[in-house]
């Protein structure tokens, strides 16, 4: 299908020049005549009753055009795409620091600020529930009146765990803790609402799911979806943090009330306080193996602090459970999943969707197991790893799994795993060097039983230029580039001839959310399908014009080729002739990821069946005097199925590993009694260029049968997943002390060392 040309080449992203020169327009850059500035009011209490809410004084301020409370919402005052249980504007009780109480729109920032300060709210502070373990106890009180604090409690079992544990030669049993983590996207959340002449609403939205935003905005406004249009401008990162709607609904409500354009952009502090965080987990895990290192059973119990509202908690915890056995053959597995409501920050989607927490647990367990057995970490992984045809503990049969072991072997080779000690384990008195690996799997796509489709509209004009309408949001991950490459390749034109319109619900069909590493599979395949009838028209004309049989004709680089030789006829000329003849040059392509129904053994609900496999190996240097961990080298070997844009693939790996190093070593929101203290990038410590080593990367291409014909698997999430456990295992190797809590800050490494001072290298 694909021979050469645009696909598989390092290409420059359309718009790259505009982005780096500051010409690209993001939500905060948008300006319209008469535009107002919107702002939201939040409670200073994590939990409080609202005794009085009086906006009269705010409405009197000159320049204040709209002030909204819950009473002013025309439609439904609740949102969230799965279970809409979070109020847009609080009615009578604030349940976390990010609950909005009122919204204002004014002629400028200062006036909007003044309006917020003029709103008279009498709060009665309430005792919050901040400890998820306490919240689970009887008599804890309810975080949300009428709802059990235990939001979810499900257990999944396969095999006979008790019998397997009884027969095990070796067991490791540990409790792991992970932290609230922040996406820290460059562009904070934002939206610009406009009211159309006919009363409809247009919203520019910094989001991952424009069509789903449209549904939520329509619901809040009480309008049919046909009257709401969502457009994505350039978007400065999301990482799952813009999967759920945020201020774009409030921007629409304010614009609708003010009858003027309203731009609402969250400040950095506001952003950190209000949007979902990566779920903090407490996981108790038992892993059992035979004397020769074969895994017998995994038994785990996970408790997550969800915050007061559902967001993506069910789904994240579900994915955690789906991957808790890792990329290993485990016949006996039990995972108990508990989500608890508290008055802490809300939690939801974040790159990896529960898989990073699971990987921290299962890959730490593997190294603890290897140490107990005296096995090499590489050997125990190769021994237990899945392969093509392996039936997973979820019942899913791995269709393409060669990359599991291939990535392990390749990463070990690149790191020099067998010779690793030669560099010196103790380069100086107080320094210890260590090596650690982690290998993971991560599903792509929504999962069996969930809708997972995308459509695109493709049209070639008489000059041979191509326009592609896709509803897939590009938050910087590069789906626009990939779709342009595929369209160019399929239609035999240069990539510069293809214009991909950034997602606009008035023009593009729904592609679903840009999440779950899915867009390249679904929208990519949709482009291939859309191209077929257009290419047929062009070749038909070409065959008629040249008198050469269709099967000897190829379109390539904007020109017709006959038997591989360039012909005088250009694609533009063919397009002009095709239109003249009335042949179609417009097409919709639709693709749905279809799971074959003949798999009754698939027992895990919504299981994903396309797997990104990868291995990362870290070399760290621990300063035993300060506890500081420097990542000296990091090897990352990833399976992308089929690479469309190698630059994008390597970029995703670099970014994911950087984010993973932060998750491993420094990033942690400090939340006390529901208040986030480090709601700034001053104290929420994300690594910067100087803290990241030059990464050593390789990409394997094992085309995915389920995502055929394209064969791409997506690469957005897997890079962040193995980084933390690889570093953890490297620290263990360096200092001989295991850590069970993220992040592994200098303080925690020091206290692990205090338990036993720097061991002499083995």
């Amino acid at each position: 299908m694909i021979d050469s040309g645009a696909v598989g080449r390092w290409v420059s992203a359309p718009g790259a020049y505009d982005i780096v020169t500051g010409k690209a327009r993001y939500c905060p850059d948008l300006d319209f005549p008469g535009m107002l500035i919107g702002k939201l009011l939040y409670s200073p209490h994590a939990r409080a009753c609202i005794r009085r809410l009086d906006v009269t004084a705010a409405r009197m301020i000159p320049g204040v055009i709209a002030v909204l409370t819950h009473a002013d919402i025309p439609g439904e005052n609740s949102y969230l795409y799965a279970e809409p249980d979070q109020p847009l504007l609080v009615v009578d009780e604030v349940r976390f620091q990010g609950d909005a109480v009122a919204a204002v729109a004014a002629i400028d920032e200062q006036t909007a600020d003044a309006a917020l300060r003029a709103i008279d709210v009498e709060y009665q502070a309430l005792d919050g529930i901040f400890d998820p373990l306490a919240a689970m106890q009887a008599g804890a009180g309810q975080v949300v009146a009428g709802k059990d604090n235990i939001m979810m409690h499900k257990t999944y079992r396969t095999g006979d765990v008790a019998a397997a544990l009884a027969s095990a030669h070796v067991i490791v049993e540990n409790t792991y803790r992970t932290q609230w983590a922040e996406h820290a996207f460059l562009e904070t959340e934002g939206g610009v609402g406009l009211v159309d002449a006919d009363g409809g609403v247009t919203v520019y939205s910094s989001c991952q799911a424009p069509h789903r935003d449209r549904m939520q905005i329509a619901r809040a406004l009480g309008l049919p979806e046909s009257r709401v249009r969502v457009i994505t401008p350039y978007i400065g990162g999301a990482f799952g943090g813009k999967d759920e709607a945020h201020v774009q609904i409030h921007a629409a409500l304010l614009a609708h009330a003010a009858r003027r354009p309203v731009r609402l952009i969250r400040g950095r502090r506001e952003s950190i306080l209000t949007h979902v965080k990566r779920h903090p987990f407490i996981v108790h895990c038992i892993t059992a193996a035979t004397r020769d290192g074969r895994l017998l059973a995994v038994k785990a119990r996970a408790i997550v602090d969800a915050g007061p509202y559902s967001n993506a908690t069910h789904e994240v915890l579900n994915k955690f459970g789906e991957f808790i056995g890792g990329p290993y053959t485990v016949k006996n597995l039990e995972i108990e999943k508990i989500a608890v409501r508290t008055n802490n920050p809300i939690t939801g989607a974040f790159r990896g969707f529960g898989a990073p927490q699971a990987a921290f647990v299962y890959e730490s367990q593997m190294d603890d197991l290897a140490r107990k057995l005296g096995m090499d970490p590489l050997e125990i992984r190769l021994l237990n790893g899945v392969d093509t045809g392996t039936r997973m503990y979820t019942g899913v049969v791995v269709r393409e799994g060669k990359a599991m072991k291939a990535s392990l072997r390749r990463a070990a080779e690149m790191m020099g795993w067998q010779q690793r000690g030669e560099l010196g384990r103790q380069p100086a008195t107080h320094l210890r060097r260590g090596w650690g690996m982690a290998t993971i799997l991560k599903g792509s796509g929504m999962g069996r039983g969930l809708p997972d489709h995308a459509a695109v509209l493709l049209e070639m004009h008489r000059d041979g230029s191509v326009v592609l309408q896709s509803g897939a949001a590009d938050m910087g991950q590069g789906i626009v580039t990939v779709l342009a490459q595929l369209a160019a390749e399929s239609l035999g034109v240069e990539m510069s001839s293809v214009h991909v319109v950034r997602a606009d619900t008035a023009q593009a069909p729904d592609a679903g959310a840009s999440c779950a590493s899915r867009q390249v599979m679904v929208s990519g395949n949709a482009v291939l399908r859309a191209a077929v009838p257009i290419r047929d028209s062009l070749l038909q004309v070409a065959a008629e014009k040249t008198g050469v049989a269709r099967d000897r004709l190829v379109l390539h680089g904007g020109r017709l080729h006959v038997d591989g030789q360039a012909h005088d006829l250009t694609v533009a000329e063919l397009a002009r002739r095709a239109l003249f003849r009335g042949y179609p040059l417009q097409s919709e392509g639709r693709y749905e990821l279809e799971y074959p129904a003949d798999a009754p053994e698939v027992t895990y609900r919504y299981s994903q069946e396309v797997f990104q496999f990868c291995t990362q190996i870290a070399q760290v240097l621990v300063d035993c005097e300060t506890g500081q961990v420097a990542v000296e080298r990091l090897v990352a070997v990833h399976d992308a199925g089929k690479m469309i844009n190698p630059g994008g693939v390597y970029g995703q790996i670099e970014g994911g590993v950087a984010q993973g190093i932060g998750y491993a070593l420094t990033e942690e929101l400090r939340v006390t009694e529901g208040h986030t203290l480090n709601a700034s990038l001053e104290n929420y410590v994300i690594p910067m260029a100087l803290d990241i080593p030059e990464l050593e990367m390789d990409v394997l291409e094992m085309p995915e049968p389920l995502g055929a014909p394209l064969g791409a698997k997506g690469i957005a999430e897997s890079p962040i997943i193995p980084t933390a456990p690889a570093i953890r295992n490297a620290i263990l190797d360096a200092i001989g002390r295991p850590l069970y809590q993220l992040p592994m800050t200098a303080e925690r490494v020091l206290s692990a060392l205090d338990a036993a001072p720097c061991a002499d290298p083995a």
């Binding site: 100086a428 320094l431 240097l621 910067m688």
Partner: protein, 329 residues
Amino acid sequence: MKNFTYYRPTSVDQALALLDTRWGTAELLAGGTDLHDLQKEYVAQPSRVVSLGGVNGLGGIAANDREVRIGAGVKLAEIAAHAAIRKHFPGLASAAGDVGGPQIRNMGTLGGNLCQRNRCWYFRDEHTNCLLKGGQRCFALEGENRYHAAFAQGHRCVIVNPSTLAPVLIALDATVEVQGPRGRNNVELAKFFRAPTGPTERETILAPNEMVTSVTIPVRGLANASYEVRQKQSYDWPLVQAAVSFTRQDGKVNAVKIVLGHVAPTPQVAEARGIAGRAVTEDTAAAAGRAAAEGAKPLSQTGYKIRLIEVAVKRALLIAAGQKRYWEA
């Protein structure tokens, strides 16, 4: 941000005349890297902002063989790059060069670095009415205090002084020139800082209507250095900083000064023991480090800083003595 009136005087006297006898109503604006943040968060709500950008006489570095005088308005980047400072006071050059990132160093000034407000996250939260904002309690004392004092004894407010230039300047016996309504006054930098306990006090001894105009450092051929333990390589504050200076003769050191940053509400002058009259080796430096940390009284989450003080002092001494940096592999 609350609205304010912006003034741009051209002389120190004009600037002083715009200040108030109470804190909070008027603020001096130098580089703005701290003040504007505080204003945006409504922690600072001045009605007058007095820019120092047009004031004559605050710039310039004047160096001769007796002393180096640095104007309060000199940018941190200039200090880090200045030839005489790099030659005589490498500890100061490295401390200035390690502040924030290039943008901060190109805006931030010497005077601003010395007079900036503390970084306590309770103090910087608009809704937390802590001791320094007229409230009844210090929230860090019982709360989240990992970035707070390790020498907390006797303090009602357990902030750490944020200046990373101050410990080095104190170790170098610098003096600071202060101007106010009663004229100009030279103060030893070691006596310039204080531990504030309420809204009528700040981190320095300045009165609300006084300002810093320059800092003077004597040139005495002291070996000196500064070492910071931080969480990341750029754009970060130290967890602990140690600045040291000493004289050297026949391979032995004397007149050793050790000043710690980020461990107490003021730069902490530590007792230098176990090293005077001896050569700087890993052992003697480590002993001095242990001595410097003696007497620390950490909070619930700052115990780890004791270890870091020991290490920072040891490493600063080794750097000043030109020894091998054993911690760099």
